[in-house]
C-alpha cells in the first residue's frame, strides 16, 4: 500500500512533539510491512532517517520550470533528494507559478519552522503538494496537523484518493479556548474534506466532534506511542544528589499549567524541606513563574533551567525523583512516557490524552493542587510508592509501541480504500 504523507517536522530537526509522533508512526507502519510511504516535509536537512520512508522536501520540489542539467541539480540538492525525483517532479508542474518567489531550481524557499508568515508558507506548501501529488503514485493521503491540511486537500483533489487527516492538536488546546479564527477555519476545512480523521486521544476526538461539528463515525482515536530509548540514554550518569528532585519539563505556557506546579511545590515545602523543584523549559510564562515562586518564598528551592535540548532532557529526567505534567489541556503528551522510560514516577493531569492509556502514573485534575502535592509527598516519602510506580511504569510504557499504533492506521487505510 502506498501512502503519501504530509508533515511539518521530522527528526532530528524537531521543534515539538509533532515531529516525534509523525516519525514514530511512520516507522511503526513500516514495521507492519507492505507499506510504501512518501513523507513530504517543508525543508529536509539531509540527515533524516530514510530507511522506512522516502522523504521529499517542499523546498526541493520545482513549481516553475527551470532548464537545469543533472549535474547542477546533483550539486545543489543531491544531499537531500535524488536528482531523478527532481526531474520527475519537474515534469508535473501544473501551472505557472513564476509570480512566486522561486529560486534557481524553480523551487519555493521554506523555513520549515513556525515563522511569522506561517500562513503564506502553508499556502506555498499546498501549491507544492499539487506537483508532488501528480508525480507520486499513492493509494491514500495522510496529513499531519493543521499546517498540512490544505496540502492534503489539494492532493486529494488532484488524485481523487482518500484523505486521512491526523489531529495531533487543535487550536482549542493551544489557546486554552481563545481560538484563532483563521487557524480554526483551516482546521475545520481539513476535517470537512477528510475521508477519515485520526485523533491522538479520546479527549481530542471529543473536541473534534463537539467543537468542529464532525460526525463521530468519521473520527477514530489512535493513541501515540514511544520509541524505545537508546541504551546510551538509559545509562546516562548523573552526579549523586542528596535531595529529592521534582521536575516539570516542557514549555512554560498557559497550556502546560506551570502555576499549579508552583502551588503544589509550595504546599509540599511547608512540610518537607529537602526537596528541590525544577522547572525545565522556556516560554512566555517563565518570568511570571519566577516571580510567583519568589512571592511564595520558595525561590531558594525552585530552579529554572531554561530550555533543555537533546541529551540534557534525559539527564534532567535521570536526576529526577518525580516528573510532573499538570497540563490544562494536552492532546496527548508524550513526555510522561519518556519519563517513565527513564524510570521516573510521573504525575499527570486527567486533562492529558496520555492519561487515557496509562495506569501506573498518578492522575490528578490539573487544578487540584492539593492532590498534586499529596502525590508528590507520597512518592518522595514512601519508598513503596516510588518503587511500584517506577517498576510498573517502566513495564507498562515498554508495551506502548508504535507498531501497534501503525497497525491501527493501516486498518483505517484499508477500510477507506475498500470502500
Amino acid at each position: 500500500m502506498k501512502a503519501l504523507m504530509f508533515g511539518w517536522e521530522f527528526p532530528p530537526h524537531i521543534l515539538g512533539g509533532l515531529g516525534t509522533a509523525s516519525f514514530g508512526l511512520t516507522k511503526g507502519m513500516a514495521q507492519c510491512g507492505d507499506m510504501d510511504i512518501t513523507f513530504v516535509i517543508p525543508k529536509p536537512w539531509g540527515d533524516e532517517p530514510k530507511d522506512f520512508a522516502r522523504i521529499i522536501g517542499a523546498n526541493t520540489t520545482p513549481v516553475s520550470w527551470r532548464d537545469v542539467n543533472w549535474d547542477y541539480v546533483e550539486g545543489r540538492i543531491g544531499k537531500v533528494l535524488d536528482p531523478q525525483t527532481y526531474f520527475d517532479l519537474r515534469d508535473h508542474i501544473y501551472s505557472d507559478f513564476n509570480y512566486l518567489n522561486t529560486n534557481d531550481l524553480g523551487c519555493i524557499e521554506f523555513s520549515g519552522r513556525y515563522p511569522d508568515n506561517l500562513l503564506e508558507e502553508i499556502n506555498n506548501y499546498s501549491i507544492v503538494a499539487g506537483v508532488i501529488a501528480r508525480t507520486v503514485d499513492c493509494d491514500v493521503i495522510h496529513s499531519h496537523d493543521w499546517l498540512t491540511y490544505p496540502a492534503g486537500i489539494h492532493a486529494k483533489q488532484v488524485t481523487g484518493k482518500p484523505l486521512v487527516i491526523h489531529v495531533h492538536a487543535t487550536d482549542f488546546d493551544r489557546s486554552r479556548g481563545k481560538v484563532n479564527p483563521t487557524v480554526f477555519g483551516i482546521e475545520k476545512d481539513g476535517m470537512n474534506n477528510a475521508d477519515h480523521i485520526i485523533t491522538v486521544s479520546n479527549l481530542t476526538r471529543k473536541t473534534v466532534i463537539e467543537k468542529y461539528g464532525i460526525s463521530p463515525d468519521k473520527v477514530t482515536t489512535v493513541h501515540n506511542a514511544v520509541e524505545p530509548l537508546s541504551q546510551e540514554l538509559l545509562d546516562l550518569e548523573v552526579p549523586p544528589k542528596h535531595e529529592k528532585v521534582v521536575t516539570f519539563l516542557g514549555r512554560i505556557t498557559m497550556q502546560k499549567g506551570p502555576e499549579y506546579f508552583v502551588d503544589a511545590a509550595w504546599q509540599v515545602l511547608q512540610k518537607v524541606r529537602n526537596v528541590q523543584f525544577v522547572m525545565a523549559g522556556s516560554g512566555d510564562m517563565m518570568e511570571k513563574m519566577i516571580r510567583l515562586a519568589a512571592r511564595r518564598h520558595i525561590a531558594g528551592r525552585f530552579h529554572f533551567t531554561g530550555f533543555l535540548k537533546g541529551k540534557q532532557v534525559y539527564e534532567m529526567l535521570k536526576a529526577s525523583d518525580v516528573y510532573i505534567m499538570p497540563s490544562v489541556s494536552e492532546p496527548f503528551g508524550i513526555s510522561p512516557l519518556e519519563a517513565m522510560q527513564m524510570g521516573v514516577p510521573s504525575i499527570i493531569s486527567k486533562q492529558s490524552g496520555c492519561a487515557e492509556i496509562l495506569n501506573n502514573v498518578i492522575k490528578v485534575d490539573y487544578w487540584d493542587t492539593n492532590a498534586i502535592a499529596d502525590a508528590i509527598y507520597s512518592i518522595i516519602k514512601y519508598p513503596g510508592m516510588y518503587k511500584q510506580l517506577r517498576e510498573q511504569g517502566l513495564e507498562e510504557v515498554n508495551q506502548i509501541t508504535w507498531d501497534k499504533a501503525g497497525a491501527k492506521v493501516i486498518d483505517i487505510y484499508k477500510r477507506l480504500i475498500n470502500r
Binding site: K271, N359, D374, S378, Y382, P383, G384, M385, Q388
Partner: protein, 495 residues
C-alpha cells in the same frame, strides 16, 4: 442424607477520610463517618434487615429445621451497633431461636494470620468475646478473613481450641477431590475443614439474576435438584457467601428472598437437611487429610492472597503497620488500640491492588479510591500519623524488651501499692471502729487519700532507681534512668 451448610459473612471496614500529608501530626481522627454511616445504613436497609426477617420467617416456618451460620467482623458489629442498632436486636432474636451459629474470626477482619501470630490470637479472642457479649455464644468453628488458610494457620487455630475451620475449596488444592466432604487439617488432624462449594455458592451470590446465564432463571426446585443429583457419597454442600447477596448483590426484585424461602420445602422433599458448621464437625466423619502449603483465599481466579499482599505498595503498607504490633501490645491507650484495629482491616490493602485483569475490575468496583496509588497515599498518610502517636506513648530509644520490663515493674508496683493501701485501710478501719461511730469512716476516707500520691511517687522512684541499678550495664544506665523517670511522672500526671 445430604446436608446443606449455609454461612453468611458480614463485614464493613471503617473507611478512611481523605487524609492529606498536612494532617500528619495534626489530625488524629481518620475515618469518613459520613460514608461509613451511609453505606452500612443503606446495606442494612436493603439487605441485612430484610434478610434477617427472611431467616426468622424460615426458621419459624420450618420448625427449627432450617439453620444457618454467621460470621460478622468486629468492625462491622461496631458500625452496626452505632448506626443500625435495630439490626443487633434482630440478630439477637435470631440467635435466640437456637438455629443460628456464630463463627469466630479476627476482630478487625485483618491479615494478621499471615504476618503476626500473636496479634492474630489476640484478635480472635477479642472477637469471640464480642460475640459472647452480644449473642451469648462461644464460637466453636473458625473462619478467617476472606477464607485465608494454610497449614500454619490451621495449627494456630487448633491450638486455640477450635474444632473446625472454614476455607475455600480451591481447585489447585483439591485437585480431583470434591469440596462436598469433611476434611481434616494436615497440621492439626483433630481439626475439621469445611470447604466452600464455589459453583453452587456463586450460583446464588453472583449469577442468580444474570439473564445471560444458561441456567437463568434459577428456581428453588431446580437448585435443590442439582444438590440432590450429586453423587450419594457427597453428603455436604457448603454454601458460603456475603450476606449482602440478599437484597444488595441480588436485588429484592430478582426474587432472591422468595428463592431462599422456598429452599427448605424442596430440600425436605429430597430428604436434604440443614446443618450449622459445628453440627457438621461433630456429626460427620472426615474422609481425608488436606494440606495447604501456601495460603489460599476465596478471592479472584487464583484463590491466593495476592489481592491484599501482591504488590510493592501492599507490602510496604502491611510491613509498616505490623512492625508496630509489639509496641502496641504494651500500650493501654484506648484510642490507639481502636485505631490499630481499624487500620488492620484487609480492605485497606485490597484498595491498593493493581491487578488489572478481569479480577482487577472487581477490585476497583468496591474501592472508594480512584486508583490503588491514591489508596496507598491516603493510607500511608494516616499510618504516618498513627506512628507518631504510638511513638509519643513511649520514647522510641527504649527497646521493646526493656520497655516491657519497665512496664512490668510499674504494674507490679501498682499491685503492691494497692495491697499496701488495702492494708492501710484495714488498719485504719480497725482504728476507726475502735474509736468512733458509723459515718466516721467516710469522713476519714478523704484525708486518707492525701498521703497516697506522695507515697506512690516515693515508692515508684525507689523502684525505678533500683531497676537500672540492678542491671549493672554502665553504658545503658544513663539512658535507662531518663525514661524510667518519665513514665512514672506521666502516670502521676494523669491521675
Amino acid at each position: 442424607m445430604k446436608s446443606i451448610c449455609f454461612y453468611f459473612q458480614i463485614h464493613q471496614p471503617f473507611r478512611l477520610k481523605t487524609y492529606r500529608f498536612f494532617d500528619i501530626g495534626n489530625d488524629h481522627y481518620y475515618y469518613d463517618d459520613f460514608a461509613n454511616d451511609d453505606i452500612i445504613t443503606r446495606i442494612a436497609q436493603r439487605s441485612y434487615m430484610p434478610a434477617n426477617q427472611m431467616l426468622l420467617d424460615m426458621i419459624k416456618e420450618n420448625g427449627k429445621k432450617f439453620k444457618v451460620a454467621f460470621s460478622i467482623s468486629g468492625t462491622a458489629l461496631e458500625q452496626l451497633e452505632q448506626y443500625v442498632p435495630e439490626f443487633i436486636d434482630s440478630m439477637k432474636e435470631l440467635a435466640d431461636t437456637g438455629c443460628v451459629e456464630f463463627l469466630s474470626e479476627t476482630y478487625a477482619h485483618s491479615l494478621s494470620s499471615l504476618v503476626d501470630p500473636e496479634e492474630f490470637i489476640a484478635q480472635v479472642k477479642a472477637h469471640d468475646e464480642k460475640i459472647y457479649q452480644l449473642f451469648g455464644q462461644k464460637p466453636k468453628v473458625f473462619r478467617n478473613t476472606e477464607l485465608i488458610y494454610d497449614d500454619d494457620i490451621a495449627s494456630m487455630v487448633a491450638s486455640m481450641g477450635f474444632k473446625g475451620a472454614i476455607t475455600d475449596g480451591a481447585k489447585h488444592i483439591l485437585g480431583w477431590k470434591s469440596p462436598n466432604y469433611l476434611y481434616k487439617a494436615a497440621s492439626a488432624p483433630k481439626m475439621r475443614l469445611l470447604l466452600k462449594n464455589s459453583k453452587l455458592s456463586d450460583d446464588i451470590a453472583f449469577r442468580f439474576s444474570n439473564p445471560e446465564w444458561a441456567a437463568y432463571p434459577l428456581t428453588a426446585d431446580k437448585y435443590i435438584d442439582w444438590i440432590a443429583a450429586l453423587p450419594d457419597e457427597e453428603m455436604l454442600v457448603n454454601l458460603f457467601m456475603n450476606y449482602e447477596t440478599f437484597g444488595e448483590l441480588q436485588p429484592r426484585e430478582s426474587g432472591i428472598f422468595e428463592f431462599m424461602k422456598a429452599l427448605p420445602r424442596f430440600a425436605a422433599e429430597h430428604n436434604i437437611e440443614f446443618m450449622t458448621p459445628s453440627e457438621v464437625v461433630s456429626k460427620m466423619k472426615p474422609v481425608d487429610v488436606l494440606s495447604v502449603m501456601h495460603p489460599i483465599s476465596w478471592a479472584d481466579e487464583a484463590r491466593d492472597t495476592s489481592a491484599w499482599m501482591g504488590n510493592i505498595l501492599q507490602d510496604e503498607a502491611v510491613n509498616k503497620l505490623y512492625c508496630l504490633s509489639e509496641r502496641i501490645r504494651l500500650i493501654q491507650d484506648k484510642r490507639i488500640r481502636q485505631d490499630w484495629n481499624y487500620l488492620q482491616a484487609s480492605d485497606h490493602f485490597y484498595y491498593m491492588s493493581t491487578k488489572h485483569s478481569s479480577d482487577g475490575s472487581v477490585h476497583s468496583h468496591y474501592s472508594p479510591y480512584d486508583s490503588p496509588y491514591a489508596a496507598f497515599t491516603n493510607y500511608m498518610n494516616v499510618l504516618s500519623d498513627f506512628l507518631i502517636r504510638v511513638r509519643e506513648q513511649f520514647p522510641e530509644e527504649i527497646e521493646n524488651e526493656e520497655l516491657n520490663a519497665l512496664l512490668l515493674t510499674i504494674r507490679n508496683q501498682e499491685k503492691e501499692i494497692e495491697e499496701l493501701n488495702r492494708e492501710v485501710e484495714m488498719m485504719r478501719n480497725n482504728i476507726v471502729k475502735d474509736t468512733t461511730g458509723d459515718f466516721a469512716p467516710r469522713v476519714e476516707e478523704k484525708p486518707e487519700e492525701e498521703p497516697e500520691p506522695t507515697k506512690k511517687i516515693s515508692v515508684k522512684k525507689t523502684v525505678a532507681k533500683k531497676s537500672p541499678a540492678k542491671k549493672v550495664s554502665e553504658k545503658k544506665s544513663a539512658a535507662k534512668k531518663a525514661p524510667a523517670k518519665k513514665t512514672p511522672a506521666k502516670k502521676s500526671a494523669k491521675k
